[in-house]
């Protein structure tokens, strides 16, 4: 009896997009003490929103999370902003661990420096959360060349989902792109290169540019014949 050919699993990279709708928590802060209380009390979703989801905005601002941005712009405590901005949110195993680090930095600052004045009315920090919608971007890549083409035109929110949010989803200091390049394309060197882009130092378009350059370089190496 003829054996029916088993269908090969589809190993294409399927691009997804994510959008969010923001919800308020009802908590706001107009002083550093109130910010601390808020960070200690709000849901994990709120900490997630103000740190990881910060990058989904396109990262047009100076710092790397909403707490740091507020400390600099509204509280006018630039040193605190620097400490908060330097927290590597992707290095924590859980959002609660990140919360503890945020509190440690704020507490440390409160011990060393006099209490800052309250912010001006209208410049309070509003703790929010977000509801996310993840959906198919309608693009798939079967090989590295198609992947490169897709990277050049997919929506920036897709880069956020696969390059930033994936690090939290996978919890392995890994992103969807480098995982696929290592496991499906079997190009560990290129995967390592992709993973090495510093997510804090670029906006989404900057990450796109770097990805495209690395992929182009990887493809060129694959195509070259050296006899």
């Amino acid at each position: 009896m003829a054996q029916r050919a088993r269908k090969k699993p589809d190993k294409s990279f399927i691009f997804r997009d994510v959008v969010t709708v923001v919800k308020t928590t009802g908590l706001k802060a107009s002083t550093l003490d109130e910010l601390r209380e808020g960070i200690a009390a709000v849901s994990e979703e709120s900490i997630f929103h103000h740190t990881y989801q910060y990058f989904a905005k396109g990262h047009v601002q100076e710092y790397t999370n909403d707490f740091a941005q507020w400390a600099a712009e509204s509280l006018e405590e630039r040193a605190l902003a620097e400490y908060l901005a330097n927290i590597d949110s992707f290095s924590f195993k859980s959002t609660d661990a990140l919360r503890k680090e945020l509190l440690r930095v704020v507490d440390d600052y409160r011990e060393k420096f006099p209490a800052p004045r309250p912010v001006l009315p209208g410049a309070e920090f509003y703790f929010s959360e977000a509801v996310s919608f993840v959906f198919a971007a309608g693009v798939r890549a079967k090989n590295l060349a198609e992947f490169l083409t897709a990277i050049k035109f997919i929506d920036a929110s897709s880069i956020y989902y696969h390059y930033y949010e994936a690090r939290v989803r996978l919890r392995k200091e890994q992103d969807d792109f480098s995982k696929w390049i290592a496991e499906v394309v079997k190009n560990q060197e290129l995967a390592d290169c992709v993973r090495s882009i510093d997510p804090f130092m670029h906006n989404l378009e900057g990450v796109r540019t770097h990805l495209a350059e690395m992929l182009e370089d990887g493809l060129r190496k694959e195509m070259e014949i050296i006899e």
Partner: protein, 405 residues
């Protein structure tokens, strides 16, 4: 209709709209407000209803009817929710409820999702028969007059959720609160692309010379928009750069102070031939569009503001923008990236001079502003958010992530 936005709005918004359209196909979505024309809410609904209908969702728009007493009360409610002390008597509240009851009997309020806009029709929720009801608040309710807030809150907390434009406009109500920014329609008469010929025709008709840089502010003649401050900023700039100033606005029928402020502005401008004060008839959308496109720098130097959609309108045209750091303006302007936020007349003058003397920087910031509006403040994003919210509240689940693939 959604295909008309391809290549203009971000693809992700169009994709999500289509996917949510498939999930909500055949269901009904009712919007209720208090006016069919005039004002930002009506303007956006005129465009959004056909957009949602094109997804095979039965979108409808109903308008409540009231008499002069009703509108007098709701005007006071509107002002009180924005902080003005207003005396509203028991009799007035009773009439407010009676008008809503009469509208509830007359209107077809049966729908799978119902979005009630602003305080005028807020009591309709008491006559809900079915569906998910949301209250959409377009005003800044952060510091309301307490007596009036208490009365309105009693209605608002009956809704499944309340939706505000900006986090700082919210006031804790015992229901879920979402933040959804308003939007502009890139295909409307006010925002569509115009030809050089169309722009020139408007400039000639309105008597605006094209030989020098044009500074523009489009807004009602209202002290909160600080037209006198704009003239003062222009006067400082004029010492360094030859330019002309255009202040354009339409008369607001609900604002008795408008004529008085206009007179003040005219008298302050005196006989400076380079200050053009234009009182445009209502619905001069194409003229506003052309003025924004011919401008070199656009200002919205408000000292108090709601969301301020004229900001997004100007930025959509790629114009270097300067706004007062109030209301919803900072949400639309990332200072130093998509425009400048200012706190004084001197600040406005300084930033105008920076733009006029650094055209490359002005161009770069204008482009960044347009891209920011494209991503954040187009009608497709707002429609997407409304449908997302409806979907999320219909499919309540554990955790904040909805996977639609």
């Amino acid at each position: 209709m959604i295909t008309q936005y391809a290549g203009i709005a971000p693809n992700r918004d169009l994709l999500l709209l289509k996917q949510l359209g498939k999930k909500l196909r055949g269901r009904s979505f009712l919007h209720v407000n208090s006016t069919r024309e005039g004002g930002g809410v009506a303007e956006i609904l005129q465009r959004m209803i056909p957009l949602i209908q094109s997804l095979d969702i039965d979108a409808r728009w109903e308008v409540i009817q009231g008499d002069a007493r009703f509108y007098d009360t709701t005007k006071k409610v509107h002002n009180a929710l924005q902080g003005n002390p207003e005396a509203i008597t028991e009799k007035m509240w009773k009439h407010y409820l009676e008008v809503n009851r009469a509208n509830a009997q007359k209107l077809d309020l049966g729908a799978d999702a119902v979005l009630i806009h602003d305080p005028q029709p807020a009591p309709l929720v008491s006559f809900r028969k079915r569906g998910k009801w949301f209250w959409r608040c377009h005003i800044d309710m952060s510091n309301p007059y307490p007596d009036v807030f208490k009365q309105i809150e009693a209605h608002c907390k009956k809704y499944l959720a309340a939706i505000f434009s900006v986090a700082r406009f919210t006031r804790a109500i015992s229901t879920t609160e979402y933040i959804i920014a308003p939007s502009i329609d890139p295909l409307s008469e006010k925002n569509r692309e115009l030809s050089e010929h169309e722009i020139r025709e408007v400039a000639e008709r309105l008597g605006i010379p094209g030989d020098r840089p044009i500074l523009l502010q489009v807004s009602r003649f209202d002290r909160f928009k600080d037209p006198i401050g704009v003239i003062n900023a222009y006067k400082i700039v004029k010492k360094y750069n030859d330019c002309i100033l255009v202040l354009a606005g339409s008369p607001a029928t609900d604002d008795p102070e408008g004529a008085e402020v206009l007179e003040e502005v005219r008298s302050y401008a005196a006989d400076d031939p380079d200050i053009h004060i234009l009182l445009l008839p209502p619905f001069s959308d194409r003229d506003v569009n052309a003025l924004q496109r011919m401008a070199t720098v656009v200002l919205q130097k408000s000292v108090k503001e709601g969301f301020g959609l004229t900001v997004s309108e100007a930025m959509w045209k790629g114009k270097p923008f300067i706004g007062g750091a109030v209301g919803g303006i900072p949400l639309q302007v990332a200072h130093g990236v998509t425009g400048f936020l200012v706190h004084s007349v001197d600040g406005a003058a300084f930033r105008i001079r920076q733009y006029l003397n650094n055209p490359e920087m002005a161009r770069r910031m204008g482009e960044a502003g347009r891209e920011y509006v494209r991503n954040s403040f187009l009608i497709t994003r707002q429609a997407r958010d409304y449908l997302s919210l409806w979907f999320a509240e219909t499919h309540r689940q554990k955790g904040p992530v909805h996977e639609l693939f």
